[in-house]
């Protein structure tokens, strides 16, 4: 059983830890409506990989992973949090920072309202602290339902604050990325959020604190080119698409046909860019193990 993990080359699968508890995130100021929001119309959905028709109830109960082929469907930040954090351990931070429209960009205010309605949150990232298997950690989750996880000034600010607070608290940071990139509607201000978040992570690193970046489907553009790539450890979910330039743009501008499997987590790992590919069911236990390795002042029953 234990031996298996040395031989499997593709994914790390750990049987030693208990199955993830489906905890409910509490201590938050908003109702976690997001899981409901994700349900497509009707009672079933077709798996894009194996074609199997899945009952949505079964899919949700399996953390939105295909029960047949283990294809990983997208999942909201709050649903992830529920899969990862110890019960009642989450404390949300900075939930009340509101986005402005500094460029008075055409249609931005309407887009924001739409996104808030769709995602059930006022901006595209959820931050706070929690425990994972008893280990305290600072967490951030990009929200795909909010303007495709794009990074505007508030997303940048919330991530920078979370990282700075982790330094104050001497805690590790885990960020789950999912993003189309920078947020066009905030122009250059959005672009510089890449620098802002990277700068904060630079300070975290200078403080010898751990940062684990988890890349989920899809992670592109300005987020890939900033905090998502700066983890001490980079984890990806299976079949997640990860890259700098989106495949459609590469095809259009370069007239270059991408090979099958390009920009998948597995492609990125082959090219040396990802440490670990971890299935959603093992994410909690894997993070717990990695966090424990880095816990300061904690003895692991050392006999050496």
């Amino acid at each position: 059983m234990f031996k298996d993990i040395f031989r499997r080359t593709k994914y790390v699968t750990i049987q030693s830890a208990p199955a993830p508890k489906r905890t409910t995130a509490v201590g938050t100021r908003q109702e976690p409506k997001t899981v409901k929001k994700e349900l497509p119309d009707g009672l079933w959905v077709k798996c894009p990989k194996c074609g199997e028709v899945l009952f949505i109830k079964d899919l949700e109960e399996n953390a939105r992973v295909c029960t047949t082929c283990f294809y990983h469907f997208r999942i909201s930040g709050r649903a992830r949090l529920a899969l990862l954090a110890d019960e009642n351990s989450f404390e949300e931070w900075d939930s009340e920072i509101l986005t402005l429209d500094p460029l008075e960009f055409p249609g931005y205010e309407e887009k924001l309202l739409e996104a808030q309605e769709k995602a059930g949150m006022i901006e595209g990232v959820l931050t706070g602290r929690a425990m994972i298997e008893g280990v305290p950690v600072v967490l951030a989750f990009n929200e795909a339902n909010f303007m495709m996880g794009s990074m505007g000034s508030v997303v940048g600010e919330k991530i920078a604050r979370a990282v700075e607070r982790a330094i104050d608290l001497r805690l590790p940071v885990v960020i789950f990325s999912t993003s189309g990139g920078a947020r066009m509607q905030e122009g250059i201000l959005s672009l510089y959020q890449m620098a802002k978040t990277s700068a904060a992570l630079g300070r975290l690193a200078a403080n010898h604190l751990l940062y684990i970046s988890v890349l989920t489907d899809p992670t592109f553009g300005g987020v890939t080119a900033s905090y998502a790539s700066l983890g001490d450890i980079l984890i990806a979910e299976p079949n997640a698409l990860i890259g700098f330039t989106g495949p459609r743009v590469i095809k259009q501008t370069m007239r270059q046909e991408l090979p099958a499997g390009a920009q998948t987590a597995e492609f990125n790992q082959m090219h040396g860019l990802i440490d670990l590919i971890v299935e959603r069911a093992q994410m909690r236990s894997t993070l717990a193990r990695l966090l424990r390795y880095h816990q300061e002042g904690v003895q692991h029953g050392a006999t050496v």
Partner: protein, 320 residues
């Protein structure tokens, strides 16, 4: 003669008329000096009118002008000495980024710049100024060395964006850019970033984490190319002009938004009308800021750069 833009044609027509008048005057030996003078005043006014009120889209055209001076044009005008250093020590030497050591007004500095080509052949060599990961890793290597030896860093931004092909993806374009951002934000030496042409998205930002961010008058610095923005917003790339206005990416916009620290004057009509004059303006403004930054302690340089980044991007906070 530089390639002309549509909006410059009234000026050129008037100038042609003056030339005709002068020729006629000379041939026929008729004194038309007052008429010529009047017309010249008119040209001068027209230039001020046109060049002084360029729309964002017109600035984009100037910034992308094929004869716009690039880093290699400015280097001998800006520096007393320049030694180009090559390679990322890992994979290749990317010619879309040039770097090395220079003497700037007697001060040893490290210089890193994106470089577009001037003709098709050179553009192919330089990938149209779009760096691959090896370019950013070369930049990082050279900037890290500047930090090691306590040398100020001058970066010059001029790129449509980072390379967006499969090779760039394979070699970690995102990682390469992100590493530049993290490293630059932490340096203890003065970093001055100047946009000299096109500042295209993350590929430009990778050299843009300065204590001071300067922009040439007709440069622009944008999160996305106006054509792509138009295509996303209105499914119509021909609306790039509208997108250019919406994105607020001119030097003047960035000054207002608190991202740029100063706009550097260009000769009337753009830098390509006089690269020496542009270099002189560049030199003077860079020198002004470098003097200031050199009085700061290493810790202050890092801290102030960090605080500058932290302050970019407004938001509203509910009091709880």
């Amino acid at each position: 003669m530089a390639q002309l833009f549509e909006f410059e044609k009234p000026i050129i027509e008037l100038e042609r008329k003056i030339a005709e008048l002068q020729k006629f005057s000379a041939e026929k030996d008729i004194d038309l000096s007052r008429e010529v003078e009047t017309l010249e005043k008119k040209v001068s006014l027209l230039k001020k009118e046109i060049y002084g009120n360029l729309e964002p889209w017109q600035k984009v055209q100037i910034a992308r002008h094929p004869e716009r001076p690039n880093f290699y044009d400015y280097a001998p005008l800006l520096f007393d000495d320049f030694i180009e250093l090559k390679g990322d020590r890992l994979y290749a030497d990317d010619q879309a980024i040039a770097g090395g050591m220079a003497l700037f007004r007697g001060v040893p500095v490290t210089v890193v710049a994106q470089v577009k080509g001037k003709d098709t052949k050179e553009n192919i060599k330089r990938n149209f100024g779009m760096p691959h990961p090896e370019g950013y890793r070369k930049a990082l290597r050279l900037m890290d060395q500047a930090e090691k030896f306590g040398r100020p860093i001058l970066t010059f931004i001029d790129t449509p964006g980072a390379a967006c092909d499969l090779a760039a993806e394979e070699r970690g374009q995102g990682e390469a850019i992100a590493r530049c951002l993290l490293a630059m934000s932490g340096y203890h030496v003065p970093v001055i970033s100047t946009v000299i042409g096109e500042g295209g998205s993350g590929g430009a930002l990778a050299l843009g984490v300065g204590n001071v961010i300067l922009m040439l008058e007709n440069s622009f610095y944008s999160v996305i190319a106006p054509e792509s923005c138009a295509s996303i917003l209105w499914k119509d790339t021909s609306k790039a002009k509208e997108a250019a206005a919406a994105l607020k990416f001119t030097a003047q916009d960035l000054l207002k938004l608190g991202v740029a620290d100063e706009v550097i004057r260009e000769p009337q009509g753009g830098a390509h009308y006089n690269s020496r004059q542009t270099a002189d303006e560049l030199s003077a403004v860079i020198a002004k800021y470098l003097v200031r930054l050199r009085t700061e302690s290493p810790e202050a340089l890092q801290e102030k750069r960090y605080q500058k980044l932290r302050a970019i991007g407004p938001f509203q906070e509910k009091s709880i």
